[in-house]
Amino acid sequence: MNPLIRTIVQRLGFGLITLFVVSVVLSLLVGVLPGDFATRTLGQAATPETVAAFRREFGLDRPPVERYVHWLGGVLRGDFGTSYSGAGSLTGNRRAVADLIAPRLVNTLFLAGLAAIIAVPLALTLGLLAALYRNGLYDRLVNLITLTSISSPEFFVGYILALFLANDVYFQIFPAISSVEPGASILDRAYACALPALTLVLVIVAHMMRMTRASVINLLASPYIEMARLKGSAPRRVIVHHALPNAWAPISNVIALNLAYLIVGVVVVEKVFAYPGIGQLMVDAVRNQDVPVVQGCALIFAAVYILLNLAADIVAIATNPRLLHPR
C-alpha cells in the first residue's frame, strides 16, 4: 500500500480510538461520580415511585457497561438520548437531545466558520510580516497589541465592542443581541453575528499571529535557509522554494490549534451576545445538571477537537516525506 495512505489510515484509526476512550469516560463518569441525578432533578419532594420511574426511564438503574453500550448504540444512530428537563412533569414534555443540539450546532458552525474565514488569512499574513521584519517598530507594536489581546478574557473584548459598536451612545452599527431567525438569509445571519465573529477574530488572530511568527522565525534560522542565502539565491526564491515547503507543517498545526481554541472561545462569546449556539446550550445544561445534553455537547466538542488535530497531523505528514518513515 502507498505509505501515505497507510499513515493516514493509521492516524484515522488512532483518532477513532481516542474518541472511543473519550466517550467511555463521558459515559462512565455519570455512574462513578457521586450525586443522585434522579432526586436532584425531580426535587426533594419527589415520591420514591417517581424517582424509581425516572431512574428506569434514563437507565440509571442498569449497570454502567450496559448503559454505555445502549448510549453508544444510540449515538451511532444519531440518537443522543432524552433531555432530563421536562422529565417528571405530568405533561411529559420530553425533548430529544439531538433535536436540541442540531439547530444550535448549525448556528455555532456558522459563527466559527465566519470567524475562521476572516481570521486565518489575516493572521498568517500579519504573522509572516512580523517574522520578516522582526525587531522592527511594526513587530514590537504588534507584539504589544497581541500580548494584551491574548491576556484579555473573551468577554472583555466582546463587551468593549458591544459598548462602542452596538450602542446609541457611541455608534449603533451592529446588533448587541445576536438573535437568529430560523429562515434568515446568509447575509442576515452574518449581520446578526457580526460582533461575536469580530470578537473571536480579534482573539484568534492574536494567538495565531504569535505562533505563526515564532514558527517562521524558527524556520528561517535553520541551516539550509542560511545555505541558500549564502549561495546567493534571491530572497523570493529562498522564501518560496526553501522555506515554504517546510512551513506547511507548522502552519497547519497553528491553524488547527487555533480553530480548536475557537470552539472553546465560542462558549463564552455566545453568552456575551446571547447567540443561540451549542455553547449556550451546554452552559445551561451544566447549570441544570442535565447530563444527557452535557454528554452530547461534550462529545461533539471533543470530536471536532480531535478531528482538527487529526487534519493538522495529516497535512504535516503529506507535506513532509520524512515523517512517513519514522525511525
Partner: protein, 304 residues
Amino acid sequence: MTDAPNTLDVAEEAAVLAEHQPIIVRRTKLGRIWFELKRAPLSAWFGLIVILLYLIAAFFAPLIAPYGETDLVGGPFDPWSDQNWLGTDQLGHDMFSRLIYAARNTMGIAVLTTALSFTVGGLLGLLAAVLRGWVDQIVGRVVDVMMSIPQLIFSLVLLSFLGTSVLNLVLIIGILDSTRVFRLTRAVATNIAVLDFVEAARLQGEGLLWVMTREILPNILPPLAAEFGLRFCFVFLTISALSFLGLGIQPPAADWGSMVKDNATLIGFGDPTPLLPAGAIALLTVAVNFVVDWFLHKSSGLKE
C-alpha cells in the same frame, strides 16, 4: 633602600583599595536581585508594580475598601457619585469595594488552583522521569486522554456532575491543568535524570525522594517558575470565564468574572462600569506575562 618605601606604598595602596573596593564584587542575595531589577526592561517594571498593587489590594482589602464586601449601600445600579465612586451593582453593593475584595477571592482561588496543579503535575512528572517504565506509560496515557478533550469543555462536564462549589472548582481546574505541568516537568526532568551526577547519587544509595527533590528539582526550577506564571494566567482566565458563565465563584463572594456577568446590562446603556472588573482581569494577566517574558529571557539567556 630606594625601593623599600615604594613597595610599601604599593602594598598599602592595595590594602586600602581592597578595603573599600574589592575586585570581585560579592553581592548579597537581595543585592543581586536589585542588580537584576535595575537592568530590567520597562515592561517588567510595569508588570512588577501592577502585581504589587494587586497584592496590596488583596491583603489590605478591608482597610482600602470604603464599604464591606456584602454591605448594601444604595439602590441597584446607582450611577457614579461621591459616596459610591463607581456606583453600585445590581443589588446595591458598592462597586469599588467589591472590585477590591474580588482581588482577594479571585486571585486567592487562582493561586490555590495553580499550586495544586503544580503539586500534582510536578510530582507525577518527576516520578515518571525518574522511574520511567510502566509508571511513565500509565500516567502518560491518562494525560493523553485528558488532553484530548478541550479543557474548558471537560471542566464544564465535571462541574455538571459534581455541582458548582469553590472546592470543586479548585479540584477540577487544578487536576485538569496538572496535565500540562506533568508534560513539561517530565520533559525537562528526563533530560536531567540521565546525567552522571544523578546516577552517582543513585549508586550512592540515595532514596527516590532525595533524587527527585535534591538532585533533579533544583536543575529544572527556572523553566518551572516561568511555567508557574503562565499556568497562573491560564487558570485565572479559565476561572474568570467559568464565573462569567455563572458556574465558578458563587455570590455573595465578590469576583471579577461574575461582576461582569451581573452588571452586563449597563453596557446596553453606554455605561462602561462592567468593563472595569473585566479590565482588572486583563491587566493582571498582562502584568504576569510581562514578568514571565523577562524572567524567561534572563534564565534561558535567550537572545533573539
